[in-house]
Amino acid sequence: MSRQDHIREFAAAALAEGRVDYFIGWTTGFNSSEVIPAFVKDPAEVDRLLWNPLCHHNLVTFLKRNMPDPPDAKIGVCVKGCDSRTLVALLQEELVDKSRLYVVGVPCDGIVDRRRLEKEFSDEMVDIAFPEKGKVVVTTRSGVQREFDQQAVLLDVCTRCRYPNPVYADDTAGPAVPEPGREETEPDWGDLADYEALSDDEKQALLEKVYSTCVRCFACINVCPVCVCWDRCVNRSRQPELVSQKVEPKSNLLFQMVHMFHVAGRCPSCGACDRACPVEIPLYLLHRKMNKELYDMFGFEPGTKLGEKPVFQVFDLADRFGD
């Protein structure tokens, strides 16, 4: 039985038995090269749900305050490994009511970077298929078809994944994938090497350049599952005004710094923000850098243990910075 079948079975049962009011998973978008979140209410419609390497959305964001509709709905949700860590982060602070949740964990082999594929063509992609494991076939509107090796076109976050199996789930959609051996290995922060090699001035200049295109759409903040203040964000505050409403590089950078620092300790760098950004700002990199610092300072990996608290929510006299 495929993971997709497992998901459908779990969803159908939960809906039919009334354990959930609606079930959130993934389904095909406006064409078969797109996958979008699916909200299923009727057990007869679970065949809309699918599972494939395009299922990049972190669905935990739909559990935040003022997202559930109705507000007291019982919700079923699918989570990948990274998604489950954001859910654990929310549960650690009791920001989501566990009793109204039914979580289906989906072990994951990695998600394909659709934007990278998009840049391979000047024509529009209309179909992305996975005819056999490890292969991705893209077809464009004009009929051009190209095959890619799945490993070569994965999201960067997936090439360094340490938690491919959900750390929290009520049911799991199929067998676990091989664990990467977290006990023996350190996280791979190689993607930060180029950035870290820059001088302070170079970093400042790079960040200002990169954030100059920010349009303050709040897609990153709203799509982030741990950005729970999303509809009353301090970035919009007027009394007091902490971040200027002006859209200019310095204010945009501060806007992102606020986001980054406020999710520090709860963000597993799932990359949802990065994928949501309409102007393709490399947000993910900043969060990765933050997580590296957290790991180096505290040995802390956000959202991995339900019984833990996020690192900035606790104060331990034993914490030390360097020597």
């Binding site: 529009e124 709040f218 949501a276 102007v279 393709e280």
Partner: protein, 387 residues
């Protein structure tokens, strides 16, 4: 108006000639992302990718625009003043700013140009409402040279809203890619004026309209178009139009949006919406904005910035009451504004069918699906109404 031919390799020369009298803005690809940027000689114009990430609207309606500056100063008392009036008093000096540099936007699509025409109504006080000098100064200083869409996307629906891949609304000159270059159809006096004085080789140039001096521009070669070229362009246009499949008909949408106002299906449609501002900010004609003041000691400014009706605090009143506190209400407002409220007030739609909202929405909310569902009468079944 003239119909000319421009050879492919002459495009940079034409742009350089235009840049003598105005700044030139074109789609530019950088790190794989296409945006409208200032063009300078040597910059490659990106025309293979159909749509830039954002529309060019920010070049006429900037995302952030300071329109008023103020200084608080102490003014000396009037001569012969007595008592309290003899003390210096605080006063404030105002300065308005309204920069409107001459510019030519080259390489936008007909849907982008149409977006400007649609926004012209609200900013231009259509029907006797207020006239916005900030927008209109830039608008008048802008010339739009659009390029016909050769390969519309599956997300395009311009034909459903009264446009087309070779649409002329708002376009000062339409460039259509054919063998060897572009057919250039000069459509307005403004287009003529911008192209005036471009030297030609082997053909009659565009005569400058009376009162416009040709200027010292050289370069570029606008030849008279041959019949074959005109015919080929017509074929390209027809083929492109055929590729756009209208996903709905406009007829009845306005009335059905009105009748379906309280329908619960609005909730179903917006479940995956994350209430950000992406769709509004990439749209060629969404125009809602916010106004804020900034003051540092005694100097300050008042500026406006793009805002969007999905902002949870967009309509939040000081009392705390928010008419659109629920995401579904905000969701409903955007589509109703574009296809019902705006047409009622300004006799114009507020959508040109570019499909950017569909392409860039983080969860791919599809405006076509929304209009198919909510733009149909409540009683109609899925089978009964042809999408």
């Amino acid at each position: 108006m003239a119909t000319k031919f421009l050879a492919q390799e002459q495009l940079p020369a034409l742009l350089e000639a235009l840049a003598q009298g105005a700044r030139v803005v074109t789609p530019v690809k950088s790190d794989g992302v296409v945006q409208f940027e200032l063009w300078s000689p040597g910059t490659e114009v990106e025309l293979d990718v159909l749509l830039a990430k954002q529309s060019p609207k920010e070049w006429v309606f900037p995302q952030c625009e300071t329109y008023l500056r103020f200084d608080y100063t102490m003014a000396p008392p009037a001569e012969g003043a007595e008592g309290e009036a003899a003390l210096p008093h605080e006063t404030v000096h105002l300065r308005t700013t309204n920069e409107a540099p001459r510019q030519v936007i080259f390489g936008l699509r007909p849907c982008d140009a149409r977006g400007f025409v649609q926004m012209d109504q609200v900013f231009g006080g259509y029907g006797g409402f207020y006239f916005d000098p900030l927008y209109n100064a830039r608008r008048e200083a802008t010339t739009l040279f659009a390029v016909t869409c050769r390969e519309p996307r599956s997300t395009c629906f311009c034909t459903a809203v009264g446009g087309c891949p070779a649409g002329q609304e708002g376009v000062d000159a339409l460039f259509t890619e054919i063998d060897g270059g572009f057919l250039v159809e000069v459509l307005t006096a403004k287009g003529e004026a911008a192209l005036a004085g471009v030297a030609t080789a082997g053909g009659a140039g565009i005569a400058a309209p009376t009162g416009v001096t040709a200027g010292a521009v050289t370069g570029g070669a606008l030849l008279d178009a041959t019949e074959a070229q005109v015919a080929q362009a017509a074929e390209v246009k027809m083929a492109a139009s055929a590729k756009v499949e209208p996903p709905f008909t406009l007829e009845g949408i306005r009335d059905n949006l009105h009748d379906n106002f309280a329908d619960s299906r609005w909730h179903d449609l917006c479940m995956r919406c994350i209430s950000c501002g992406t769709c509004t900010y990439v749209c060629p004609n969404c125009y809602c904005f916010n106004i804020n003041d900034a003051l540092v000691e005694t100097k300050g400014e008042r500026y406006r910035t793009w805002d969007n009706c999905f902002n949870p605090q967009y309509t939040e009143e000081t009392s705390g009451h928010n008419p659109r506190a629920h995401k579904a209400n905000r969701f409903r407002n955007r589509f109703s504004h574009k296809f019902w409220y705006y047409p009622d007030k300004y006799d114009s739609l507020l959508c040109s069918g570019c499909g950017r909202c569909i392409m860039h929405c983080p969860t791919r909310i599809d405006i076509r699906e929304v209009l198919r569902v909510m733009g149909t009468p409540v009683a109609a079944t899925a089978e009964g109404k042809e999408a």
